[in-house]
C-alpha cells in the first residue's frame, strides 16, 4: 500500500486550507472523486488504499454531503439531514480502520411509539419486557412479534450478501461474471422455499399485507410499517413498500439486524471520522471546489473542470453525485447512448421527506409516563397505525404535504449528551410526506407552514412541546436539493422502487459503477445497493475501478456497444469490464 505525501500535510491543516498556488503537477492525480459525501470519501479511501493518488472535490465548505452535524445555536448540534446509523457496512469499518479515527456508534436502546389516545408502545432491550409491553396492546402479537422477527431475519440473512457485492450482469459473456452468476444462482436454489417466497413477497408486495399476516395491533403495525415508507413515495398499503421495509431492516448495529445507532456527534461526526480515515490513507480533500464538468477526450475522461475554470487531470473520475447529475450534468448527454440518457431521465427521484429540527429548553414529558424520560433514548415514532401513515400519504398523492405527518423523531442529546448543553435537548424529526413538487405552491412559500404542521403534530402527542422550543429549523425537499445537491431532495439519490434497484440501479447495463465514458465511474447512492449511510456503493465502485486497472486496460467502448447496450442485448459485455 502506497501512502502518498499528502497524508501528513492534510492531517496537520484544516481540510481544504491549502492555499499555495498549485503547480501543474499539483493538479494531476490518479483519480478524482466528485463529491465528499460518505460514498465519495469511502470510494476515495479505497482508491488511496490501493495506492492511487486521489483527490476529492467538494462543492460545499464541509465534508459529509447529507450526513452533516451543524451547531445552529451555541451548544446545540443538529443532524441537519441524515440522523442515524445502521446500514454502514461492517467491512468498511474494519478495512478503513475507522475505529482508529474515532468511529463510535452508540446504541439507541429503545423505540417509543406514542398513541393518539395517550397510551404508547415502548420497546427496549429486554425480550420479556417487550413481550409484556406488546401484550398490553395485543396478547396475540407477543409471540407473533418473535415469529415475524425470526422469519424476516432469515430473509435478511439470505439477501444480505447482495448488499456487499456488485449487481450481476446477466448479459455478460465474461467468464468471471458467469461464474459469479452461477454462484448467485446456486445460492438462491439452496434457499428455503418459504424464505425465498417471503423475500419475493417483501420485494414486490406491500408492507401492510405482510404485517397483517402476523399482527393485529395497530400501534405495533404502525411502528413496523413506518420503516416501509421512509424516503419513498409509497404508503404502507402500496405495493413496493415491502422492499423499503426490508431494506431498512437490513441495517445492523453490532451484528443485530434492524438495530440503529447514533454516531458520536451524529452522522456529521461519522463523516468527519471517514474524512480523517481517507486522509490518513493519502486522500486529498478540497472543499469549496464545485466541479462544473468532467473533461473528456475521444470518449474517455481525462479530468474535471471547476466552475471557476480551474482544471484537474486524472485518468479516473468518479462521480459520487446522483444519477441525474452524473449522467446529465457532469458530462454532456450527447456523449452517452440515447437509451441510457432516456433511462436516467425517467429515473424517479420525487423526494418526499423533510426534516424539522428543534433546539429545546428541556426534554418534553409524555403525560402517561409522568417524569420519565428514558423512553427517548431511541427513535420516537409518530405513526400510530398503518391507517395514520396511509392517510399521511394520501395528501402527498395529490401534491401536498401531510396534514398529520409521519414523524421519525429522536432526542439525540439523550444518547450523546454532547449534542446539547446540560439540561437542554435537540430533537430531530424526519417528516413524511412532503413531496418535492407542491400543487399550486412552492416550498419557499410553505416552508414555515410545514414547520408549524410538524410542531402542531408533535404538540398533539406531547402537550407543552411548543413552550420548550428555542429554535426550529425546517429543511424541505427543495432545501435538501439546494444544500446537498440531491435531485428533487430524494434522500436515497433515487427512489427505492424495484425497477430502480440492484442490476437496474441506476440503469440496466450500467449498474456496475462504470459508464459509457472510459475512465468515468459512478459511486453515489444512486448505484447499488442504494441510499442510507452505507458506504457500499463507494466501496463497490472502487473495486470496479481497481479491477479495470488490474486488468491492465480501461474499458473501451465502441459505438456499437453503446447502441446495443440500451437494448439490454449482447453488446453489454462492455459493461462487465471486458
Amino acid at each position: 500500500m502506497a501512502k502518498t505525501n499528502g497524508t501528513k500535510a492534510n492531517g496537520a491543516k484544516p481540510i481544504g486550507a491549502r492555499r499555495d498556488r498549485p503547480t501543474r503537477d499539483d493538479r494531476t492525480y490518479d483519480a478524482i472523486v466528485v463529491g465528499a459525501g460518505h460514498n465519495g470519501m469511502t470510494n476515495a479511501a479505497y482508491l488511496a488504499r490501493a495506492g492511487l493518488r486521489t483527490l476529492v472535490l467538494e462543492r460545499r465548505g464541509n465534508v459529509g454531503g447529507a450526513a452533516i452535524t451543524e451547531e445552529l445555536r451555541p451548544g446545540f448540534w443538529f443532524t441537519t439531514f441524515s440522523y442515524a446509523l445502521s446500514l454502514l457496512r461492517p467491512d468498511i469499518i474494519h478495512e478503513l480502520e475507522l475505529v482508529k479515527h474515532g468511529f463510535m456508534p452508540i446504541l439507541m436502546p429503545s423505540t417509543f411509539c406514542p398513541k393518539e389516545d395517550g397510551d404508547y408502545l415502548l420497546l427496549g432491550q429486554d425480550h420479556g419486557e417487550n413481550h409484556k409491553e406488546i401484550e398490553r396492546h395485543s396478547k396475540h402479537d407477543a409471540d407473533a412479534y418473535d415469529a415475524f422477527n425470526h422469519d424476516i431475519t432469515k430473509v435478511l440473512q439470505a439477501i444480505k450478501p447482495l448488499m456487499d457485492e456488485a449487481p450481476p450482469d446477466f448479459w455478460s459473456d465474461d467468464p468471471e461474471e458467469l461464474i459469479r452468476l452461477a454462484a448467485m444462482g446456486s445460492r438462491f436454489r439452496h434457499l428455503d422455499r418459504k424464505v425465498l417466497h417471503d423475500a419475493i413477497r417483501l420485494l414486490t408486495g406491500s408492507a401492510a399485507d405482510f404485517l397483517d399476516d402476523y399482527f393485529e395491533s395497530d400501534i405495533l403495525k404502525g411502528y413496523m410499517a413506518s420503516s416501509a415508507i421512509i424516503g419513498t413515495r409509497v404508503g404502507p398499503y402500496s405495493q413496493g413498500s415491502g422492499l423499503v421495509l426490508l431494506y431498512h431492516l437490513l441495517g445492523e448495529h453490532d451484528g443485530e439486524f434492524g438495530a440503529w445507532a447514533f454516531h458520536k456527534q451524529g452522522n456529521g461526526g461519522f463523516t468527519k471520522v471517514l474524512a480523517r480515515a481517507a486522509q490518513s490513507l493519502g486522500v486529498e480533500i478540497k472543499l469549496e471546489s464545485p466541479v462544473d464538468h468532467v473533461i473528456t477526450r475521444d470518449g474517455r475522461a481525462t479530468g474535471v473542470a471547476l466552475r471557476d475554470g480551474a482544471e484537474y487531470q486524472a485518468p479516473i473520475v468518479v462521480s459520487a453525485l446522483d444519477p441525474r447529475r452524473t449522467f446529465l450534468e457532469l458530462v454532456d448527454p450527447r456523449e452517452l447512448p440515447v437509451d441510457l440518457v432516456d433511462e436516467i431521465q425517467r429515473f424517479r427521484f420525487q423526494g418526499t421527506s423533510a426534516k424539522v429540527n428543534f433546539a429545546l429548553d428541556g426534554v418534553p414529558r409524555y403525560p402517561a409516563l409522568g417524569d420519565r424520560t428514558d423512553q427517548y433514548r431511541g427513535f420516537t415514532n409518530i405513526g400510530p397505525s398503518m391507517e395514520y401513515l396511509e392517510r399521511a400519504f394520501d395528501d402527498a398523492k395529490y401534491g401536498w404535504y401531510s396534514k398529520r405527518p409521519y414523524l421519525d423523531c429522536a432526542i439525540q442529546s439523550t444518547v450523546d449528551p454532547d449534542m446539547a448543553p446540560p439540561g437542554k435537548a435537540v430533537w430531530s424529526s424526519f417528516v413524511q410526506y412532503a413531496p418535492y413538487e407542491l400543487r399550486e405552491s412552492d416550498w419557499d412559500t410553505e416552508r414555515e407552514r410545514l414547520g408549524d404542521t410538524v410542531q402542531a403534530t408533535i404538540e398533539s402527542f406531547f402537550p407543552g412541546f411548543g413552550s420548550l422550543v428555542l429554535q426550529r429549523e425546517v429543511r424541505t425537499p427543495l432545501d435538501i436539493e439546494r444544500t446537498v445537491g440531491l435531485s428533487e431532495g430524494n434522500i436515497f439519490a433515487g427512489e427505492f422502487l424495484a425497477p430502480q434497484m440492484w442490476f437496474m440501479r441506476p440503469a440496466i447495463g450500467w449498474a456496475n459503477y462504470r459508464t459509457p465514458i472510459e475512465g468515468y465511474y459512478q459511486c453515489g447512492s444512486g448505484t447499488h445497493p442504494g441510499g442510507c449511510v452505507m458506504g457500499a456503493p463507494g466501496k463497490l465502485a472502487a473495486q470496479a475501478v481497481l479491477k479495470d486497472r488490474e486488468r491492465g486496460r480501461l474499458r473501451g467502448v465502441s459505438v456499437g456497444a453503446r447502441a446495443g447496450n440500451g437494448t439490454g442485448s449482447a453488446a453489454a459485455p462492455a459493461a462487465a469490464g471486458s
Binding site: P90, D91, I93, H94, V99, F103, M104, P105, I106, L107, P109, S110, G124, Q125, D126, E129, T153, Q157, D254, G255, E256, F257, K264, G362, D374, R377, S413, T414, V415, D416, P417, D418, P422, G423, K424
Partner: protein, 422 residues
C-alpha cells in the same frame, strides 16, 4: 445474611432490573437498566457512577508503615509521596501473586489499601516488631466511583480542588460538606475518580454527584458494564485472570506479576540489559534504583522476581487478543448462523491453539467490544508469541462443536483514551 452498601438507598431506587450480584456479601447492581450496553456507553461517552463500596479497605498507619509496606508490597511505597496512589500487588515468597489493590498515601505514616478479599490476618502476620497497625476499615467507607469523559467536570463541580488532580493523585476535600478522599483512579480504563466517603454520609455525596450530572446523561452503571470496560482496559480480575497464590492448589493456578503483564512494576529491579520480556520497558529501568543501598528492594517475592527477570523463567504472559472479524463472520456464516456480536463479558477459560491445533494457552476474559468493534480477549500466551501481531487460534463453540478462530496478539490496554491520564 446479605448486606447492603452505604449507597443502597439510592442504588436500590435506581435499579430498574431487580438484578443484583453478591460482592463480598453486599448487594451491587448487575445492571440498573435493561441495557447494560447503554450504561457502558455512559462510561465511554459521558460519565457513569459506580458503587464500589464492597472492596476491602485497610488502613496501615504508624511510624513504620512505609517500611512495613515496602516489605510486603511489590511496588516501592517509598516512591509514593503523600497525595498519591498507585496500583500495586503482593506476592508470596516464590514471587507468585496473592492479590492486587490500590495503595493511597493519605498522610505521613498513613496509607489506605484496597483488596478484593480479606487479607487482614496475612498482613498482621507480617508486622513483626514494626511500629505499624493494620486495621480493616472496610465498613467505615463508602466508595463512589465516577468514570468517563465528564468525570473531571463532575468532580470539579462538587469538589473544585480536584480539578487539577493528576492521574493517581489523592486529595482530601469536601463534597456537600462531607469530608472525603478523592483519588483519580478507577477500574474502567477511562478518565475517572473514586470518592471515599464516611459511610454514614454516603448518600449526601451520591446526591451531590448525581445533581452535578443531571441533564448530562450521567447514569449509574452495574457490574456488567464495569467488566466490559475493564476487559477493554486490560485490567485483571481476581479469580478470573489470576488466582491468589495463597489458595491455589498447584503452580499452574499461580501467576507471577510478570506473567500477568505487570512487569513494568519492576523496572527498578530489572537488570539493565533486560529486554522486553517483562512486558514493560526494560530500557527505562536504568538509573531508577530504589532506596535500598544494596541495589535492590527487599520485599516478599522480590528475590524470585529478580531471578525471573534475570533468567527469563516466566512461563507465559497475559496479553490481549483481537479476533479476526472476517474469520469470525465466515465461520458463523458457514454454520448458517448470524455472527453474534455480544458484548456480555465471558470471564471463563477458552483455549488457544496454533495452526496444528496444539494448545498454546488460554483466554481468561473475552467479549465483543462496541468501542473497538471487535471480539477481544485477555489471554495467556507463550513468551514466543507475545509480540503484537503474533497469530493464534481461539477455540469457541459454534453450533455445538468447536471452531478455531484466527486471532492476533496485541498489547493491552486494548482501549486507552488519552483522557485517562491527561
Amino acid at each position: 445474611m446479605i448486606r447492603t452498601t452505604p449507597f443502597h438507598e439510592r442504588t436500590s431506587a435506581l435499579n430498574e432490573t431487580g438484578l443484583w450480584e453478591h460482592w463480598s456479601n453486599s448487594l451491587v447492581a448487575q445492571r440498573y437498566q435493561m441495557s447494560e450496553k447503554f450504561e457502558y456507553f455512559a462510561i465511554r461517552n459521558a460519565a457513569g457512577m459506580f458503587d464500589t463500596s464492597p472492596l476491602y479497605k485497610y488502613r496501615i498507619a504508624g511510624p513504620d508503615a512505609e517500611r512495613f509496606l515496602g516489605g510486603v508490597l511489590a511496588r516501592d511505597p517509598h516512591k509514593l509521596a503523600v497525595g498519591h496512589a498507585h496500583y500495586t500487588l503482593w506476592c508470596d515468597d516464590r514471587g507468585f501473586v496473592i492479590e492486587d489493590g490500590v495503595l493511597l498515601h493519605v498522610a505521613d505514616d498513613e496509607y489506605l489499601l484496597t483488596a478484593a478479599e480479606p487479607n487482614l490476618a496475612y498482613f498482621e502476620g507480617l508486622t513483626g516488631r514494626l511500629d505499624v497497625s493494620v486495621e480493616d476499615v472496610t465498613e467505615d467507607w463508602g466508595i463512589l466511583s465516577v468514570q468517563g469523559p465528564y468525570a473531571r467536570d463532575l468532580l470539579a463541580a462538587v469538589a473544585p480542588v480536584t480539578e487539577d488532580l493528576g492521574y493517581f493523585g489523592v486529595t482530601r476535600t469536601e463534597v456537600a460538606g462531607v469530608p472525603v478522599l478523592v483519588s483519580r483512579t478507577g477500574y474502567t480504563g477511562d478518565l475517572g475518580y473514586e470518592i471515599w466517603t464516611p459511610a454514614a454520609d454516603a448518600l449526601r455525596v451520591w446526591d451531590a454527584v448525581a445533581a452535578a450530572g443531571a441533564g448530562r446523561g450521567v447514569i449509574p452503571f452495574g457490574m456488567t458494564a464495569l467488566y466490559m470496560a475493564r476487559i477493554e482496559a486490560g485490567l485483571v480480575l481476581l479469580d478470573v485472570d489470576f488466582h491468589s497464590s495463597r489458595f491455589a492448589w498447584t503452580d499452574a493456578d499461580r501467576t507471577t506479576p510478570i506473567e500477568l503483564g505487570l512487569g513494568w512494576m519492576f523496572r527498578d529491579l530489572a537488570p539493565v540489559d533486560a529486554g522486553n520480556g517483562s512486558g514493560g520497558n526494560g530500557a527505562a529501568a536504568a538509573g531508577r534504583n530504589g532506596h535500598d543501598d544494596r541495589g535492590g528492594r527487599a520485599f516478599i517475592g522480590g528475590e524470585a522476581i529478580k531471578t525471573e527477570l534475570r533468567e527469563k523463567t516466566s512461563r507465559w504472559q497475559l496479553t490481549g487478543l483481537v479476533v479476526d472479524w472476517r474469520d469470525y463472520d465466515r465461520i458463523y456464516d458457514a454454520a448458517g448462523l448470524i455472527p453474534p456480536k455480544d458484548h456480555t463479558p465471558i470471564q471463563d477459560e477458552y483455549y488457544i491453539y496454533d495452526d496444528a491445533l496444539n494448545q498454546l494457552g488460554y483466554a481468561t476474559s473475552q467479549m465483543y467490544s462496541p468501542m473497538l468493534q471487535r471480539h477481544i480477549a485477555l489471554a495467556r500466551v507463550p513468551l514466543a508469541l507475545t509480540a503484537p501481531g503474533s497469530k493464534v487460534k481461539l477455540e469457541l463453540p459454534v453450533a455445538h462443536r468447536y471452531e478455531y478462530f484466527d486471532a492476533h496478539v496485541t498489547r493491552p490496554p486494548l482501549f486507552n483514551p488519552q483522557r485517562r491520564t491527561a
